[in-house]
Amino acid sequence: MSRLLHALLILSFLGLSLSGMPLRYSSTPWAKALTHAFGGVHATGQIHRLFALLMFSVFAAHLIDLFRTSRNLGGWHAMLTGPNSMVPNLTDVRMFFASLRWFIGSGPRPRYGRYTYWEKFDYFAVFWGMLIIGSTGLVMCFPEIFSRFLSGEWQNVAVIVHSDEALLAVLFIFIIHFFNTHLRPDRFPMDMSIFTGYISVEDLQRERPEEYKRLQSESLITGESALPYSPFYIFLVRLYACLALLIGLTMLFLVARAILFSN
């Protein structure tokens, strides 16, 4: 489920940034070219709304998934405090400082669990971003309806927040998320586990020893030596992921250029 949602999230995120960023940087040539490619300003707007609908669906599906998981794990409390929880805790703070020491060479590699602190931040950044961008997007999409109970000035606020938060999301995903989980040299070119659902025992042992220990103690590690997918499927997945990375990096380049050379 999470894999499918991640794939759809990629699709909607790229679609939204491709159809949204031209409006923010409307004076650049690439904005005009992209808009033209989408079939004009109006069509670009419709495409943006379409992808927004997809992202809303992903968000809703994830909430349903969370609800189901919580039932399987025996309630919200169990899920939020369990070893697979996304909720940051004291261990994460310790891990952060341990990581800093490890980076500068004055400590061993921290024994990360199932989710590292940066992954948790990633998750909540996206969660928060979807709420903020989604709600402001709705306000802008239906200005006449929202003006029944919101002052017109909220439209101005919505524009600023939507646009700036979108920029934050784009930069964060295309720089921080890409580096942390895919592009950093010891993981280059990408971490396939989010696409396949599997991680090799070797990787698990090295990168998340705590999780390895837990899974071993619960005898959950399978003896499979190869992924249960055809090579063609793996190829398709890699292609999709690489395309997403490429589009993301191109967007990053264009946006960065627009920011740096706007005047």
Binding site: K32, I104, G152, L167, I176, R184, P185
Partner: protein, 533 residues
């Protein structure tokens, strides 16, 4: 030969009446009688002419030689003679002789009138093929005789003066002249100029080029003799002297469209010069004619906009500040709106609207719509089209007005090529542009709901509080928006600062990890190979 009549002398009848000698010989009988004594009793020469008009078929007292002394014919005590017969030996004053009276010996006109004869010899009249050796003097001077001949029957009795003689042959000119002025006010009727007012009486036909020139010293007679107001106008153009100095450059001389040029052919006349005149100012460039043909005004004649040219022959283009005067003739509603708007007001109003450039001039019709290249606003090439009008407005309304517009969705969409999104004119109006404080303004608080509602159906009181020209970097005016923006920027900056630092710390460690792992992999490969070996 006519029979010689018995000669009468003048003195005898006086003596029969028993009149005293001194009646005629006033200064004494030894002195000859003078004309003065004749006039005392018989009245002057002209009176005699009238008195004798019924007596003589050809009145000797109304001859072409004018006033002759009485004693030329009347010799007192000697018999009278007929002075006329010295040239016209066959002429008798009591007998009608039809037609020209032969002269003996034939008298050459040119012996008395050499200048006229010389001119005539070079004129077109002298070269007429159907008259063997050209027209003689008498062809025109039909009444150059001692006695008045009956006037020829004229198609137009009102044609005055010498013209009727010309019109014997040149009848074809009558109709055009009548046509241009059926009321008889201009070139026909009692006030009409004679042919000779324009045409030199004898050299007449050589004047095609020089006739109308007012500067030619040898041709002092021209249209300008009567049409004095034209002097200051089109004709003053030295550069185009040769082409324009002739009135018939525009007004055909006899078909003479008079003051109002024939509308249908006016532009055709103008472009005879204005499409090809080399070395002239831009106004004469052929490009203008091309533009005009493609423009919405393609069917208009030059003078419909260049009204000053038509009104008083002024060449000057429609004065920019007066351009509405020309445009208003057709575009009344727009002109009325414009004249009320800030653009049509006093300069002080402009300072308020675009404070950043106090020297800015009020836009006039042509500043937005162009001149010869005027296109309909539906034409994408028109500066007032939906594709271009924003670019037009921001030529003056640059700075904050434009920047804040381009910061809004409306402006961004416009920049990306949308023609349906709100543009300057959609909210502010095109001609009826007023300042916000003016109740007539479409952006006056009371009118905003209607203005926004044209696109946003159901726009209410709250909706119109949207700041369409929000300058979010203006901390005082838009403080809330400013702080929202600031908060977002701080959020963005801190998040990225934190994680990029994190990334930079991680990068060297990650590189080391990669090298380490590669080394391990190659080691194990080596060991695998050694095992197999």
């Amino acid at each position: 030969m006519y029979a010689q009549q018995p000669a009468k002398d003048t003195a005898k009848p006086h003596m029969v009446l028993g009149l005293s000698c001194t009646i005629c010989h006033q200064s004494g009988t030894k002195q000859p009688a003078t004309e003065k004594s004749c006039v005392n009793c018989h009245g002057d020469y002209a009176t005699l002419g009238e008195k004798n008009a019924n007596t003589f078929t050809q009145n000797p007292h109304q001859g072409h030689l004018g006033h002759l002394a009485c004693t030329v014919c009347h010799h007192g005590h000697k018999p009278d003679t007929q002075y006329c017969q010295s040239c016209h030996p066959e002429m008798e004053i009591e007998k009608a002789v039809p037609g020209p009276i032969p002269m003996n010996p034939p008298l050459e006109c040119k012996s008395c009138h050499p200048e006229q004869a010389r001119k005539l010899a070079h004129s077109a009249h002298a070269r007429l093929k159907w008259a063997d050796s050209g027209l003689s003097c008498r062809a025109c001077h039909i009444d150059h005789s001692l006695f008045q001949l009956p006037k020829p029957k004229m198609p137009v009795a009102a044609i005055s003066g010498a013209s009727y003689k010309c019109l014997h042959c040149h009848e074809r000119f009558i109709l055009p002249i009548m046509k241009i002025d059926p009321e008889g006010e201009l070139h026909s009727g009692p006030r009409a100029p004679k042919c000779s007012a324009c045409h030199d009486a004898h050299s007449l036909m050589h004047t095609q080029e020089s006739l109308w020139k007012r500067t030619e010293k040898n041709n002092p007679i021209s249209c300008l003799r009567c049409h004095k107001d034209v002097q200051k106008l089109h004709l003053n153009l030295q550069a185009s002297k040769e082409r324009i100095n002739n009135c018939d450059g525009c007004h055909v001389s006899h078909a003479a469209e008079s003051s109002p040029l024939d509308l249908a052919s006016e532009t055709a006349k103008c472009i005879r010069c204005h499409s090809s005149l080399p070395g002239s100012s831009q106004a004469f460039a052929p490009q203008i004619m091309k533009d005009l043909k493609r423009s919405a005004h393609a069917s208009l004649q030059c003078g419909q906009c260049h009204t000053r040219m038509r009104a008083n022959h002024s060449l000057s283009k429609p004065k920019a500040e007066e351009s509405t005067v020309e445009c208003v003739g057709c575009h009344q509603r727009q002109a009325r709106d414009y004249s009320m708007s800030v653009h049509g007001q006093a300069p002080s109003a402009v300072l308020r609207v675009s404070g950043n450039n106090p020297k800015v001039k009020l836009p006039r019709c042509i500043d937005c719509h162009g001149t010869h290249k005027i296109l309909k606003h539906t034409d994408p090439m028109s500066p007032v089209s939906r594709e271009r009008s924003v670019q037009l407005c921001i030529q003056c309304h640059s700075g904050k007005d434009a920047a804040s517009y381009f910061f809004s969705y409306h402006g961004k969409a416009n920049k990306l090529g949308s023609t349906t999104t709100a543009q300057c004119v959609d909210c502010h109006g095109a001609h009826a542009v007023f300042v916000r404080a003016d109740a007539r303004s479409s952006i006056a608080p009371g009118n905003l709901k209607a203005t926004c509602g044209r696109c946003h159906q159901g726009a209410n009181e709250k909706f119109v509080q949207y700041a369409s020209h929000a300058q979010i970097d203006d901390k005082d005016k838009y403080s809330r928006l400013y702080f929202v923006m600031l908060a977002m920027q701080v959020l963005l900056a801190t998040t990225h600062a934190f994680f990029i630092l994190h990334l930079l710390f991680w990068l060297p460690r990650s590189l080391k990890e990669r090298r380490l792992r590669n080394a391990v992999t190659s080691d194990s490969l080596v060991s695998d190979a050694s095992l197999q070996g």
